[in-house]
């Protein structure tokens, strides 16, 4: 293998993405080529160095040493008697538990089988005593239990045929009537239950069909707010079907890529990638992700990144339930970078929500004062004119 070919395989070898055959070939080449071996060592150093910057914060060698010392101590420690006993006992406990569970399942299954195989009622005896009966088999069983059938099987007793027919038929008729009445009552109760269920289902259907009519007034009023940035928002989608696997992968990958750009302070590319992710977002789940990302940046004193995240939410997810919080945080972020006009605009939007009106009014007063002071500083030449 020549060095040109080998160098093309080195990247795959460094990240362990070669096939076994390719691995053997490249390793054989590296044994005999010091140039390629040196290249690999250098790339490994770059890889390890970058991993250090990603994983290890600039910190506490003391803390690291303390953790290592504790780890060494733990590794060197021998198990106590009970720890050793438990290690041996653990497999010995699992087997009886599994056997017990299997036995319980078997017994339950057998009981159910026996109940299903219980002898069924004998229709022949019933027909012998009541050849013209208009009753169903359940009623016949009740008659047997009351002693009106099957008496010829008892020792010394009179035959069922000798039972007085008029009294038998009268009792039978009364029982049939009461059974009939009870069936009618049950039917009425069922009808009521069905009607109630239908009513509930209709009510739920109606509420699902009205996505633009939530109960809280501030949510309803929110619909009149125009988005803070001029870009036209994507109209909200109705409750969406589950995302397909591939679309979700592309969405997640684009979102991650966007966050990498934001972390590297490349806001333009981050916003472009984020918009790609939003296009793939069928369920609207990214609204909360951007919201959380914005909070993270704001707590890390990076209001610029936070502003981009919040605007992505407000421009693309106008029905996001946490929109008031997003608007408030956006206003605070604008204030942090000294964009008092933008902050003022956001606080004015917050006045639409009754719960936040007082806070918004207070902040509007503060922003107007700050804006006036900023203008005076500019006129005095203490800050650059914009």
């Amino acid at each position: 293998m020549d060095c040109n070919r080998a160098e093309k395989l080195l990247v795959g070898y460094l990240y362990q993405e070669l096939s076994p055959a390719e691995t053997v070939r490249i390793e054989k080449h590296l044994e005999s080529c010091s140039r390629c071996a040196r290249t690999l060592e250098n790339w490994k150093a770059i890889h390890l160095g970058f991993q250090r910057t990603v994983e290890e914060p600039p910190s506490a060698p003391y803390l690291k040493e303390k953790i290592l010392a504790t780890a060494r101590q733990e590794l060197g420690r021998k198990n106590t008697f009970f720890e050793n006993f438990y290690l041996i006992l653990k497999p010995a406990l699992i087997l009886p538990v599994m056997l017990f569970a299997a036995l319980a399942v078997f017994l339950i299954f057998q009981r159910n089988t026996q109940m299903a195989q219980a002898p069924k009622p004998q229709p022949a005896a019933v027909q012998e005593t009541a050849p013209s009966s208009r009753l169903d088999p359940d009623t016949e069983n009740k008659l047997r239990s009351l002693g009106y059938v099957g008496e010829d099987q008892q020792a010394g007793s009179r035959s069922a045929k000798e039972v007085s027919k008029p009294s038998l038929s009268r009792d039978r008729n009364e029982l049939a009537d009461s059974m009939e009445a009870r069936k009618q009552d049950e039917g009425r109760e069922n009808d009521v239950a069905v009607q109630q269920y239908d009513l509930k289902a209709k009510t739920e259907t109606l509420s699902k069909d009205r996505p633009s009519a939530p109960e809280p007034s501030y949510v309803q009023e929110k619909e009149t707010i125009s988005p803070p940035v001029a870009a036209s928002p994507v109209p909200a989608q109705p409750p969406a079907p589950a995302e397909e696997g591939k679309g979700m992968e592309v969405k997640n990958a684009a979102f991650k890529k966007a966050q990498v750009y934001f972390e590297r302070n490349d806001l333009n590319k981050g916003k472009t990638e984020a918009e790609q992710a939003i296009v793939q977002d069928k369920t609207g789940s990214l609204a909360a992700e951007f919201h959380e990302a914005g909070k993270k940046y704001q707590s890390n004193k990076e209001p610029e990144q936070a502003i981009v995240q919040y605007n992505l939410v407000l421009n693309n997810y106008p029905y996001y339930e946490q929109s008031p919080d997003v608007i408030l945080r956006l206003a605070e972020a604008y204030e942090q970078i000294g964009a008092y006009d933008k902050a003022l605009n956001s606080y004015q939007q917050l006045r639409q929500y009754p719960a936040l009106k007082n806070t918004a009014d207070q902040k509007i007063g503060e922003m107007m004062k700050k804006r006036k002071a900023q203008e005076q500083l500019r006129s005095l030449g203490y800050v650059d004119k914009q």
């Binding site: 993405e17 290249t39 590297r264």
Partner: protein, 85 residues
């Protein structure tokens, strides 16, 4: 790691290297930096990187190779890789 703690000079050298490495990565062309960060920071395999950036896996690996070569050239003047690795 034990050696780093015992050898402050090596630790200082490593920190300088890491800082220079960050700068070298920031100076990479966009396409190479994208692949480099997705591999090193997000730990995506090259198949996935290719899907994300919209190219072939072999193209993604080539961009990574160029990125590593570029970083190595920038750092080789200031650092001996053998000492840092």
């Amino acid at each position: 790691m034990k050696d780093d703690h015992a050898n402050p000079e090596k630790e200082y050298q490593q920190r300088s290297f890491d800082k220079a490495l960050q700068e070298a990565v920031d100076q990479l062309p966009d396409e190479q930096r994208e692949v480099f960060l997705l591999r090193e920071q997000m730990n995506l395999p090259f198949e996935e990187i290719a899907k994300v950036v919209g190219c072939l896996p072999s193209t993604a690996k080539s961009r990574m190779r160029y990125a590593l070569q570029s970083i190595r050239e920038k750092l080789a003047n200031r650092f001996s890789m053998a000492d840092i690795a």
